[in-house]
């Protein structure tokens, strides 16, 4: 009787669910997710492997807009880690398959010509922040960063803010706290270094020394 009930329950669950996502979608999503966490943790070799897999799996779909998003994700991570953008592949895709959202996000990451930026076409979490940037309103930008819930998006917006040299100690500390909570060692080290630089610039030598000592202790 119990077996019959269990069987019925499983059948009911299976019946209520729709068909699972296609294999390529599942694989590419997971690979890209692993890429993001690996690169932010500082495991660049592993991250490269995951990224290659994400690209290969997305290519299976033939969807160039999605493939563009994969490359944009890579550029977003490069923005966070302040590496030069690997933009050739994305620009080639944009030429063949133009997508306004992808294009706007690319401009957002570039940190140039914010006058041409259309915040409405950016992912929801960045719209307020982009609008504040356009107005060069530091307080509004800082507030918008604080309201971003997704840690990765928050770090990306801090990096973009830093490109515009609008970042203050508060943003650096937010980045350090977020990276610390998520275990993103590469980001943590980068922003500790930035914070030390900022403290040096303000003449707070003691504070800067303490930050650097903390950084040294965290290094491998």
């Amino acid at each position: 009787m119990k077996q019959a009930l269990l069987f019925s329950l499983i059948w009911l669950i299976l019946g209520c669910t729709s068909a699972p996502a296609p294999d390529w979608m599942y694989q590419s999503y997971n690979a890209l997710d692993s890429y993001k966490s690996s690169i932010l943790e500082g495991k660049s070799t592993l991250a490269d492997l995951y990224f290659e897999r994400a690209v290969a799996e997305t290519k299976r779909s033939g969807d160039l807009i999605l493939l563009g998003r994969v490359y944009l994700t890579q550029m977003a991570m490069e923005t966070v880690l302040q590496h030069p953008h690997s933009e050739n592949a994305f620009l080639a895709i944009l030429k063949i398959a133009p997508d306004p959202e992808n294009e706007q996000y690319y401009r957002f990451l570039q940190g140039k010509n914010y006058g041409d930026l259309i915040p409405a076409l950016l992912p929801g979490q960045y719209r307020d922040f982009a609008a504040a940037l356009q107005q060069k309103n530091e307080e509004a930008a800082s507030g918008a960063i604080g309201r971003i819930k997704d840690p990765c998006s928050q770090i990306i917006s801090i990096s973009v803010c830093d490109k515009w040299r609008l970042c203050k100690e508060q943003e650096y500390r937010t980045a350090i706290d977020t990276a610390s909570r998520q275990g993103w060692k590469a980001v943590l080290q980068l922003y500790l270094e930035k914070l030390a630089g900022l403290q040096d610039a303000r003449g707070e030598k003691e504070q800067a020394g303490l930050t650097r000592e903390k950084l040294d202790l965290l290094k491998d």
């Binding site: 669910t17 599942y26 999503y29 890209l32």
Partner: protein, 307 residues
């Protein structure tokens, strides 16, 4: 009568002068005709990067025969030397569009322009065209080739001079070597053996002889010990026989190892089969886990979003 005779003589003289003049004119005309004075000439224009060695009147040869000459030389605006040659009508057949012109400056003889035509059936060279003249400078090439040889000869002569100078000087090494050789040969003549010559004294030679005799006696003893029925060699023979027996046994072992490796190879094939089966199972499990994941995520598609 007298008047008629005088007229006759004057007529004859006049006729003679006229005929002679006519003959001279005809001869000159004939020679001029044969020389091609009346022949139509074609002027071709050539150019060269250098006018060195070029002179007006320079012959133009085809297969060693003169077919024309250089009539004019001038420089154009680009600094190239423009060479005008005239070729009589009867020789224009040798000058074709594919003809190549080369100015040759031989070691012996005067400079000339040679015409090389591979295909005589090619269309004739257009009069207002310009062809390049290549420069074949035999003299300079010869000088360039001769220069290193002359330099080497110069060095060789200097070396010979130094050697002869050394020979002439009594204090130089060669003379010292000769005098040392003389001393050695004189010494060799006064000694009884080479050993004495090398060692220099008889006592040492005697000592060496003693040592050799001692070595001979040692070798004799060694022979006795090695070749004796109870000596080393029969013992070595026995050991070798034993080793051969053991090697025979080792052969069997090697055969066994071969068999084992063959079995291992077969097993590897089985392992591959097993691996492919495991792969298939893993793929199936992956598919299943994906389905479960799909169920657990309530069918929500994990579409890639911008971070």
């Amino acid at each position: 009568m007298g008047s008629s005779m005088k007229l006759k003589r004057e007529f004859k003289v006049g006729l003679f002068v006229l005929l002679t003049t006519l003959l001279i004119v005809c001869s000159i005309s004939y020679v001029a005709y044969k020389k091609g004075v009346f022949e139509t000439e074609h002027a071709y224009t050539l150019y060269s990067i250098s006018g060195e060695g070029l002179t007006e009147g320079m012959p133009v040869l085809f297969s060693g025969f003169k077919i024309g000459k250089v009539t004019e030389l001038e420089l154009n605006d680009k600094g190239m030397v423009i060479i005008r040659i005239s070729v009589p009508n009867r020789h224009t057949k040798w000058v074709r569009q594919n003809s190549q012109f080369a100015m040759v400056r031989p070691v012996i003889g005067t400079a000339r322009i040679n015409v090389y035509t591979d295909d005589l059936a090619a269309p004739p060279l257009v009069l207002d065209s310009q062809s390049e003249v290549l420069i074949v400078d035999d003299i300079n090439q010869l000088i360039n080739k001769a220069q290193p040889i002359v330099a080497k000869l110069d060095q060789t002569v200097a070396n010979i001079e130094q050697i002869t100078g050394n020979l002439a000087n009594h204090n130089e090494n060669i003379n010292k070597i000769i005098s040392n050789t003389e001393k050695v040969s004189a010494n060799f003549a006064s000694k009884k053996s080479v050993a004495e010559l090398v060692l220099g004294e008889e006592e040492s030679v005697r000592s060496i002889h003693g040592s050799i005799r001692h070595i001979e006696s040692i070798l004799k003893h060694t022979d006795e010990r090695v070749y004796n029925p109870e000596g080393t060699l029969p013992l070595v023979n026995l050991i070798l026989k034993d080793i051969l027996l053991k090697l025979d046994k080792l052969n069997t072992t090697v055969d066994n190892i071969n068999q084992i490796s063959t079995n291992a190879s077969d097993s590897t094939k089985d392992l591959r089969l097993l691996r492919s089966e495991i792969d298939a199972t893993v793929t199936a499990v992956k598919g299943l886990s994906r389905k479960i994941d799909g169920i657990l995520s309530s069918g929500k598609e994990k579409e890639i979003q911008l971070p």
